[in-house]
Amino acid sequence: MICETWTEKLDAYLDGELATSEARALGEHLRGCAGCAAESLSRVQQKRALQAAGQRFVPDPAFRARIQKSIAAKPRHWSRFWFPALATAAVLLIAAVFPLTINRERRGDQQLLSELADLHVATLASSNPVDVVSTDRHTVKPWFAGKIPFTFNLPELQDSPFTLVGGKVSYLNQSPGAELIFRVRQHQISVFIFQEQALGNTRSEDAVQTALSFNVRSWSHNGLRYFMISDVSPGDLDRLSEMMKAAG
């Protein structure tokens, strides 16, 4: 009877799970009880045999490598984490700034054209449209010397419908420039020449525009920006602008 009580605790004893006092008492019993000692030995043998037999399956090293690779702590490449964020930010920035830039450029252009149209209209309305009155380009060009910080060439207008009326100093963005007046039939054409750096945020490529219903041609050459504005037909403007460009 008493042995049955002990054998119930034998497993916990052999598994090292019995409380110290109980383990000590059971140990003493085993030393004095051959039946329980034999049972204990039998169970120990079974434990050992199972321990050895149970370690049966060994994984393939390739499988281990596969698992290890799948769970390996991945180094936090900055690009992996930041690239999408940076790319998104860049796209947003471009999306936000590019239209602004275009708008600003467009707004600058429109503002410039309005001012040029105003200057042209003012010249048309003036009783003294020009300060140097001459049809001779060799008179007009030297007149500007010392009045504006650059020089320019005027085309030979012989055999053309265009006549040089004269010129005057004009100002745009507080910078001095040349305004030349040409006449074709009864129309007047203003040609403004300014330094590009004085114009700020405006486009510099060739452009065909209109301002207040005036036709406008503009182009750049040698750091100077040329604007041609008039109510004449675009064809006339193109022709004169080609002659101006050819004169360089």
Binding site: A12, E17, R56, V58, I71
Partner: protein
């Protein structure tokens, strides 16, 4: 140099544990030492090497995903074994194995032998691993797993209780019955072998 690294490592561990977070790479450091044993346990559960590989792989994937739920300072081994076992139980093989359990795991079972056989019958064949393996294979999965966890993995009763999600008392009674069933199986095979 070594002391510095050790101090820093200890500091890092303490900080990590106190903050409830673990440094990157910790999962690998904690999980990989159990790999061979997990695979062995998976083989005993599934009784098929390919299925065992799938089971282990799924276990590692699940454990990595759920690593944030692991509380530093608690028993990692019991945690990952539990994941493996739960994954197995919900697998087709696992469902089949648990559905065909014939033994009343916690109750009395007349089919199981009592201590009538002599201890010598075990001692004679104690080194016969193959016999022991066959007897273990034929046990219901609930007996198989508790025996492997206790004898092969040498888990404490507390760890086994955590892994199997059963009370300590149930661990003890199930273990006792599993051992008796194993012994009966070995004796049966010995007698068949002797007759053959």
């Amino acid at each position: 140099m070594f002391r510095g690294n050790k101090t820093r490592s200890l500091w890092f561990t303490l900080v990590s544990v106190s903050e409830g977070t673990l440094p990157p790479g910790t999962f690998e450091q904690l999980a990989m030492p159990h790999f061979e044993r997990l695979y062995n346990f998976a083989c005993w559960l599934t009784q098929d090497r390919q299925e065992a590989e799938d089971l282990v792989q799924e276990t590692y994937v699940k454990a990595l995903k759920g690593f944030s739920s692991f509380q530093p300072g608690t028993n990692f081994r019991a945690w990952i074994y539990k994941i493996l076992r739960n994954t197995f139980l919900t697998s087709r093989t696992g469902l089949k194995a648990t559905a065909t359990v014939q033994l009343d795991l916690e109750g009395e079972d007349e089919a199981l032998p009592t201590m009538k056989e002599t201890p010598e019958s075990i001692l004679v064949q104690r080194s016969d691993w193959q016999l022991m393996q066959q007897a273990l294979e034929q046990l219901p999965v609930a007996f198989r797993e508790v025996l492997v966890l206790c004898e092969v993995e040498e888990m404490s009763y507390q760890e086994i209780a955590a892994t199997l999600a059963i009370p300590m008392g149930t661990v003890m009674s199930r273990l006792s019955r599993a051992r008796r069933a194993l012994r009966a199986g070995v004796i049966k095979m010995q007698s068949v072998g002797a007759q053959g």
